[in-house]
Amino acid sequence: MQMNIVKDGKIPPLWHYGHEEHDVIGAKTFGFWLYMLSDALLFAGLFAAYGVLDHTMNAAGGPTESQVVHPIAATWQTFAVLSSVFAYSLATVALKRGNRAGVVLGMLAAIGLGVVFLGLELADFASLFHAGATPFTSGFLSAFFVLIASHGLHMVFGLLWMLVMLVQVLRFGFSTAVVAQLLNLRLFWQFQASVWVCVYVFVYLKGTI
């Protein structure tokens, strides 16, 4: 069916001349969405491990979920991470207007709030360690700490990335490469916030019930 000889003898064009416009930002954003899909699967694996190990039996006589979650402190963390995303969104609005100072300020605020989030998390970990609940106590606590620390590690990388972008915005302005990265960073940051919301719901809130 597809082998048809062109009937009227008019052969359609065989070569595509001219410069194909490559949408650099579009390609990079699509690639980054794919990366985030894999990152989502990574967290899915971690959540699955947490779900499996979140049983009294896996606590092996050590503290159980309700004894280690601090939902109030986690609420403050949630505020911190969501405000950080909001600050970054303000930076994106400034980016649309080409306002360099706005972008820098927004990102500084996002970094500050991200640091607050990590500080709260470390404080929470420290208090748990102090109380003798460590990842080495039981299978459940291993899953608890590793799940939350994996998210924390992503946050650290996000902050590092923001610092790099801060320098690049100041140095290169809004070049294609910089804008593509700023947009991907926004995706990354929002994604980490949504992962945290999952952590908040499935670990902290569920743990209090």
Binding site: Q2, W15, L41, F140
Partner: protein, 694 residues
Amino acid sequence: MLVHVPGPWSPLFGRLTLDSIPYSNPIIIFAFAFSVIAGLLVLVPVVYYRKIGYLFREWLTTVDHKKIGIIYILLGLVMMFRGFVDGMMIRTQQVMADGPHSGGVLGAAHGYLPPEHFDQIYSSHGTLMIIFAVTPILTGLGNIIVPLQIGARDMAFPMMNAISLWLTTVGAMLVMASLFIGDFSTAGWVGLAPLTEVSYSPSVGVDYWLWAIQISSIGTTLNSINMIATIVGMRAPGMRWDRLPIFTWTTLSTNIIGLTSFPILGVALALLGADRYLGTHFFTAGLGGDLMLYTNLFWIWGHPEVYFLVLPAFGIISEVIPTFAEKPLFGYITMVAATFAIAGISWLVWLHHFFTMGAGPYVNTFFSVATMLVGIPTGVKVFNWVFTLYRGRLTFTAPMLWAVGALFLLLIGGVTGMMLAIPAVNYTVHNSVFVIAHFHCMVLLIAYSIFAATGYWFPKVFGFRLDERSGKAFFYTFSLGTAVLFIAMFALGFMGETRRLDYLYNTQWMPALVVEEIGIGFYTLSCYYFAKMLYVSIRDRVKNRVGADAWGTSRTLEWLTHSPVPFYNFAVTPQVNTRDELSWRYANKVADVQPDHFEAFHMPNNTVVPLLIGILGFGFGFGMVWRIWWMAGFSLLAIIAVVIYRSFARDKGYILTAEALAKLESANKPLGVVAETQYLSESNTSHMAEAEAH
């Protein structure tokens, strides 16, 4: 915090001591000498002919998808050879160590390998063949062929492509290092939990296995991102979804599987790593660990991984058979639907790897039926190929023989797979060599497709065909080996021989074991013909030179450009008008119509960054394996620093001008992967201005 491991440890060298080098083992000394000689055979000519600079500029720092693909395939072939030697050693040990009266040499009670050594070999055989032979070769084929099939100049992210390559290479190098420094895992390529825990495997073996797979699978994930982005975003004008060649379709589906399943493996290995390094309790038997969690996570990746490998193989068969049947593929849409059906179902079947876990009959039945469902689209594919043969005009070149041979393996693998899918049957053959024979049929199907693809696309990449005579001898000896070895292995499965035995207590198995060894002999002979095929082909390369379409009956876009493919793939991007574009051009007698003028386009520069990341990645892996914390830490920080540094570099690539292009195209010499530098230098380099930012 850190797990205490037995044995000495120093801050400078970690667990590494002089005793870590097994210099007292004659087998390893021989393997080392062999590797050194093989390495020198490559290195000495390179140095002698002063090609180090060329090697570095054109290959080690390349971002060209074809060269990256070639390196992937070379890496895979070398690893496949090592995996084959491992297989040969396994078979020889078993035939020597059958029965309580069998003698032992080289310090073994039976045969010539003590259990610790044998267990490393069977583990590395699986790891090498699956992760470091078949995966890189298929990735390399996808790398080379997919951009050509869709009419693209390169992959979506050329530098990331090179990073993927070097990360995969790092994994392979770690497995190689384990041969000569320390030991390899004894817990199988699947990493049987809790045998992989420090209590039961305190040496560095499991760490080698863990980091080799972990690092290379990061490379595979990045490659999947790249492939999907390329296929979705880089298609030539007119290459609609319903015109996409089947190999590209299968590569797309396979990389969707890769992208979504490798993170799960990453989690499984990371949690195991946390157990081994930090002392958590994910997969320990006690203290709240759950060893079946590992098994589930591993196979949630592991089963999609099987289809990750087999789908491109199906794609290759779907390209080779139509070319040599001189007919379009029967049922294109059905084929694409079947491909994605297999990809989808592959997520629902992982539990069939452990029906014997003790799950209830309903759970087992669910996974049993889900597993059988895979048989439907697979059966459809077989029918498609059969009806493509019907009323064709078949030429049995070596690639065609491999492709048709793969069909027979698929049928045997299918029948035995359906047996294993039934729990009641599975209870009698699970973990026996019957399973080994079954999945070797499937993996050999992939190997057959790989050899089909190698012969089929070799002229596209290098400009001359492989020698048919020795190529067919290779096929027949290899197939004889396959038939002899695996029929005997199926028989042994019915006799009740279980897998991974380094000593066999039952003397009744002896005849079948000897038959298996004869099969190994045929395989060894086929290695000779493979080498001969390469030698004769390169010797007679002028005689075997081909034009754009090496076979005269090819159908897809990659055969439209020169053979070998120039570094820019297509001088002018083709406009795609139909499915099987080249056949259509033949039918309309326009296949020879060349572009009437050229226009400038943008090309990426080579870069040393990916290689650097690879070297640092090896430093990280090696440091982690031996617990040399400074080395691992430095390497990791350096990788981050390199990535940040690179993000500041404003490397925009260069513009290949119309004039330079015209000169390159009119040069009456083969252009392409092998000869890039000289043609670049012949063309006027002043034409290559720095590209501007957008």
